[in-house]
């Protein structure tokens, strides 16, 4: 028998999106003041009502205090030591993909995000329409024409403010008002870009819509704002991806996402969050302080949040559902992986208002290295939520003995007919399982990735196919250096 070639060593794949695009950037003057807010609004050529809203939010934010209830620790953020607007310099707004700076197109190619439209054949699955947001601006949105034929609006929020002001005015801030929390107020004052989606009555969106957020400029916060409205009897599935260059300083990302589902509409929102997590010593990385909320406004409407959180130095994020319409339903499927010195405080709120409302929460937290991983959840049954039901399953997996897993579930029920179930487990990756996989030919890292992916399976199966494969690989990469 010949000597078999030694198995390809599992090459540690460090954060592979950590590159910087060399591009001239136009930025707002450093610091945060009313002038900054006015600068951003002027840059975007916004109507007065929006500037007034921004200024109001800014005034409110100045009276608020940084929330301190999260199980995360970080030094105070100096809001004057950052830029609040950064955009690649260009002559005029690109009218089509041909006009986009080739350096930007190259960046997205490197990130594996398709900005070229493939000829869509009727009924061909797998096409994804992308809105690409680079620092503070949207650089391209694909398949717009094809979608417009069905009456679907998919564009940057800036464009929507100009072209569809009535819709924006009606819904922007209706689910997450500036007063909601500190970071939501900050976002309402200085938000720069995001995506806007409107699905008309009775339309099923024929392809996945997605936004790809990229932070490139140094010392810059990204404050995007996404608004998705699904009118009666419509359906949309939406994906969000994010990456940033490797830098030693921490960068703030404070986004707001609002979803509105009208009668019998369904919105599926999936995120694969892979912001730069910092290095193995906890230096650098993104602070991901995000407010995401969906309003099931219509009867029998549905909203689901699926998230795979692998990046960011600190994650503070609770995608929630307000179940207002009778018989509406909400779901939260989450995988949060923390390694090295990452901290994640994430979970959801399910607010049951309508009768017969349903919610499902499945949370999988994986903690390795020195990381801290927290699930925080609220299930609230209002007096009106007759016959409402919630089921929560919350599992934690520990790798090594230096990390932590924490669970803070809160249940408030004011209706005696409502039913709430909560199950939670904490376990370790057992040596038995690792050895069994190794004996079948998997390296220690591959064995760990397989076992962890199995642990997350209930959540991963909720992801659209295009994302599931990527997400699986990402889980393996995120656990680099956690074993051995």
């Amino acid at each position: 028998m010949q000597q078999p070639p030694s198995p390809a060593a599992f090459t540690p794949e460090p954060y592979k999106y950590g590159f910087v695009t060399p591009i001239d950037t136009e930025t707002a003057p450093k610091g945060l003041s009313e002038a900054t807010v006015r600068y951003i609004s002027a840059k975007k050529g916004e109507p007065d009502w929006l500037l007034a809203q921004r200024l109001k939010a800014f005034a409110l934010w100045q009276t608020m205090e940084t929330p301190s209830w999260g199980k995360v620790a970080f030094p105070p953020i100096d809001y004057q030591d950052a830029y609040y607007y950064a955009a690649p310099k260009k002559k005029a707004a690109p009218q089509s993909l041909e006009d986009v700076d080739p350096e930007l197109l190259k960046t997205y190619e490197k990130l594996g995000i398709p900005l070229k439209e493939q000829a869509i054949l009727a009924g061909v699955e797998g096409a994804v329409a992308v809105d690409a947001v680079f620092d503070s601006v949207s650089v391209a949105t694909t398949y717009k024409k094809a979608l417009e034929e069905k009456g679907i609006l998919f564009c940057s929020l800036t464009e929507a403010i100009h072209n569809h002001p009535d819709l924006v005015k009606k819904y922007l801030g209706s689910v997450v008002p500036p007063s909601d929390n500190y970071y939501a107020a900050l976002n309402a004052a200085v938000f720069t870009e995001g995506s806007f989606v409107y699905i008309p009555k009775g339309v099923r969106c024929p392809m996945e819509l997605s936004t790809y957020f990229r932070i490139n400029a140094a010392n810059t916060g990204q404050f995007e704002r996404t608004l998705i409205v699904a009118d009666d009897d419509s359906y949309v599935s939406y994906l969000e991806g994010c990456t940033a260059p490797k830098r030693d300083e921490n960068q703030l990302h404070a986004a707001v996402v609002e979803l509105v589902a009208l009668d019998r509409a369904e919105i599926k929102y999936a995120t694969v969050q892979n912001w730069y997590p910092g290095d193995e010593n906890g230096v650098g990385g993104i602070y991901n302080f995000v407010t995401k909320r969906g309003l099931c406004k219509g009867a029998s409407s549905k909203i689901s949040w699926t998230q795979v959180e692998t990046g960011s130095a600190i994650t503070w994020k609770y995608p929630s559902c307000v179940l207002q319409g009778d018989y509406s339903s909400g779901a939260f499927y989450s995988v949060a992986i923390t390694n090295h010195h990452q901290q994640a405080d994430t979970g959801t709120k399910m607010i049951h208002i309508g009768r017969g409302t349903r919610s499902t929460i499945i949370s999988k937290g994986i903690s390795a290295g020195h990381a801290q991983n927290t699930y925080r959840g609220l299930v609230r049954m209002a007096r009106t939520a007759h016959g409402a039901r919630n089921k929560t399953q919350c599992d934690s997996l520990l790798i090594g003995d230096q990390c932590g897993a924490h669970t803070f579930p809160v249940i408030v029920s004011r209706d005696p007919t409502a039913r709430v179930e909560h199950e939670a487990t904490t376990s370790r990756v057992s040596e038995d399982r690792l050895f069994y996989c190794q004996q079948r030919g998997l390296s220690l890292e591959e064995a760990m990735a397989l076992i962890v992916n199995g642990f997350c399976r209930e959540v991963m199966k909720e992801l659209p196919m295009e994302f599931a494969v990527e997400a699986q690989k990402l889980i393996g990469i995120s656990l680099e250096g956690s074993v051995g």
């Binding site: 070639p5 004996q439 079948r440 998997l442």
Partner: protein, 250 residues
């Protein structure tokens, strides 16, 4: 094929194997029998490279390769397969996905091309059918909720798919009723061939009624105390380990 020379190994500082030597030629099936605590399972884990077992002396080669210098997954790629006494559950990972990942890992290590989804599906279905296993089992998570018999059959399926050079069957008969035992033994027998060696580790002679060994070794006190033909197993069954060992010393 497999050459074990003077192998000593300890766990938690306690020496379990004390100078064990064994030679298993290509294509042969050898049985290792012995009383509880003789070091049978330790031998199988040391050969597979489980963490926690320290080799304190001796050597093990497989086709001339130094097995002890390899990581567990490298040994698997080199052709070592251990059928576990207690197969491990892996929640959320389907048997199909597990086998696909394992086979492609082993193929990559051997410099062979990965099989695509369709090729893999075809192969797994054929192998499952050959050992009389219900195809639906491939869709279930590895060993989760399997009966004792199903678990052992799943081990045989993995063996059939990975096509190892050396199969170590650790107490494969434990927890099986006679019908399940027969099915598992049939599966193992179907995998006997001129290029594959098998080490059948068992406490009872019963299994050897179904998997006929070429040689039988008695493991006691951390070393091979006696070796003989298949008739040795019958003698052990009749006299018990104490007497048979005493006979060896006489």
């Amino acid at each position: 094929m497999l050459e074990i020379k003077n192998l000593s190994a300890a766990i938690d500082g306690k020496e379990i194997l004390k100078g064990l030597s064994l030679s298993l030629p290509k294509g042969q099936v050898h049985a290792i029998m012995g009383p509880n605590g003789a070091g049978k399972s330790t031998l199988s884990y040391v050969l597979a490279g489980r963490a926690g077992y320290t080799v304190t002396g001796g050597s093990v080669t497989l086709n001339g390769q130094d097995l002890l210098a390899m990581a567990p997954h490298e040994r698997a790629a080199a052709g070592v397969f251990l059928a576990f006494q207690y197969p491990v559950e892996i929640p959320g990972v389907t048997t199909m996905n597990f086998l696909k990942t394992a086979l492609n890992a082993v193929r990559a290590a051997r410099g062979e091309k990965a099989l695509d989804v369709m090729q893999m599906l075809k192969l797994l279905r054929a192998k499952a059918k050959a050992i009389g296993m219900d195809e639906d089992m491939l869709k279930r998570p590895v060993n989760v909720g399997f009966s004792g018999g199903e678990k052992k059959r799943c081990e045989v399926l993995q063996m059939a798919v990975l096509e190892p050079r050396l199969c170590i069957l650790d107490e494969t008969d434990s927890g099986l009723d006679i019908d399940a035992l027969r099915i598992v033994a049939d599966g193992v027998n179907a995998l006997r061939d001129a290029n594959r060696s098998m080490l059948v580790i068992t406490h009872y002679q019963r299994l050897l009624d179904y998997i006929k060994p070429d040689r039988v070794h008695v493991l006691a006190g951390g070393r091979i105390e006696r070796s003989g033909g298949p008739e040795l197993a019958l003698e052990l069954e009749e006299k018990g380990y104490g007497q048979a060992s005493a006979g060896a010393q006489a």
